[in-house]
């Protein structure tokens, strides 16, 4: 029996491939227990929509308390941790001023008061989202109702979406979030270390027929609805009143509109 090393390796490889291949084929033939006719569907309470959108009416936000209530409603429901430093910070909805939220084309003659006027900012759930394009695993994806959702199970934490987002809407779990959540809410899971997260337009509440947490606590400051529904409040406001969006020149088609001049639609 004199074969050289190369022949030996070649024969060993062939036998291994044959063995593995046939074991796959044999297990494929074995009958698997199959539960017949299982189906999936939407809940009867689910609020269907083609394009969820939000109108922000800052005239309804009058005190610090108003902003805090809205942010806390979201962050406490969704177990958003408070790391107490801006480096690791995670935020889904927060307040920033006009000058920074609508950056670009700075008007130096604008009243200081206007420059510093506050605006709620959050993920814009764009129609043309650069973050979804960038994601290499489709862990962030666009749902049929227009919501840009995160699949925390699939995210590998590459943070490409954070680079792609022109609005700074996304946060990363640089640390394990659980020790930094003051009061755990069992309504929604926490996230784990190493994944990206952001506002999800409360799609889990929409599936139960409820409105988003921030909207519920906003005293009419945040109006939520389906843009594709001609009778919805958001559609009426957006088509008739003066609204602006952040960085419209980038073509991402944000779904969050900011009402200029206030409105008495309540």
């Amino acid at each position: 029996m004199s074969i050289n090393r190369r022949q030996f390796l070649r024969r060993a490889g062939m036998i291994t491939a044959l063995g593995l291949g046939s074991s796959f084929i044999i297990s494929g033939f074995r009958k698997k227990e199959v539960a017949e006719a299982a189906e999936y569907g939407k809940s009867s309470k689910d609020l269907p929509a083609k394009r969820w959108a939000m109108v922000v009416d800052m005239s309804k936000f009058k005190t610090e308390e108003d902003f805090k209530r809205v942010t806390d409603a979201c962050h406490s429901l969704h177990n958003v941790p408070d790391f107490k430093n801006t480096k690791d910070e995670i935020k889904w909805i927060w307040k920033d001023d006009y000058h920074h939220a609508f950056a670009g084309g700075h008007n130096q003659y604008l009243d200081d008061h206007v420059i510093h006027s506050p605006f709620m900012v959050l993920c814009n759930h764009c129609e043309n989202p650069p973050c979804v394009k960038a994601c290499p695993t489709q862990a962030t994806f666009k749902r049929n109702d227009g919501i840009i959702a995160m699949d925390f199970h699939r995210c590998i934490g590459c943070r490409f979406c954070m680079g792609a987002c022109p609005f700074g809407a996304r946060s990363f779990n640089f640390k394990d979030p659980r020790p930094y959540i003051e009061e755990i809410s069992t309504e929604y899971p926490t996230r784990t270390i190493g994944v990206v997260e952001k506002c999800n337009f409360c799609y889990e509440l929409l599936a139960k027929g409820l409105e988003p947490a921030c909207v519920a606590k906003s005293n009419g400051g945040l109006i939520f609805g389906d843009l594709a529904d001609t009778n919805s409040e958001v559609r009426k406001i957006v088509s008739t009143k003066h609204t602006i969006r952040r960085k419209p020149e980038l073509g991402t088609q944000p779904s969050v509109y900011y009402l200029i001049g206030g409105d008495d639609h309540a």
Partner: protein, 163 residues
């Protein structure tokens, strides 16, 4: 074969050592995992309602695939209702459906979330930290088979159990 005698002898000893566990346990029956099905929630159900989403045989073989499919349907497709092979509807929720029956018996072992004060390993990566451990029902099989489920770094057991 050069030094053939020594090589063949060592091969036989090696294969003997390798298969030792099989020979040692030949003929003995293994007890298998002790799966606790007597949680308070299950005990409260009427006998005819003591049914899981699918049959035990199916779940034993396929719960991983079912959980994956549920995840895809709920997270990615927005479909939160599952109609099983018998036509019963269930809400797709690990916490509210599966754990409604299979939650850990709280008196026996309360779930404690990872907290730096109580963590004795000093690490905070929840996938490595044992404080984010599986409910007893899951752990009974998963500890036996040494396959660690990673669900609990994010998902909870139902409200009663959480401190």
């Amino acid at each position: 074969m050069y030094k053939g005698g020594k090589i063949i002898a060592s091969l036989i000893i090696f294969i003997g050592l390798l298969t030792l566990p099989f020979f040692y346990n030949m003929g003995k029956a293994n007890a298998g995992p002790d799966v606790p099905l007597d949680t308070p929630a299950i005990q409260q159900l009427a006998d005819k309602d003591k049914e899981c989403v699918e049959s035990p045989e199916y779940m034993r073989a396929n719960h991983m695939q079912l959980l994956n499919d549920w995840r895809t349907a709920a997270v990615r497709d927005g479909q939160t209702v599952y109609v099983n092979s018998k036509g019963t509807e269930y809400e797709i929720s690990l916490q509210d459906t599966c754990l409604k029956c299979h939650a850990t018996d709280t008196a026996a072992s309360p779930v404690v979330l990872n907290n730096p004060v109580s963590s004795n390993t000093g690490m905070s990566n929840p996938t490595l930290n044992s404080s984010n451990s599986s409910p007893q029902f899951c752990a009974s099989c998963h500890d036996y088979s040494a396959v660690k489920p990673l669900c609990w770094s994010c998902h909870f057991e139902p409200k009663e159990a959480v401190k």
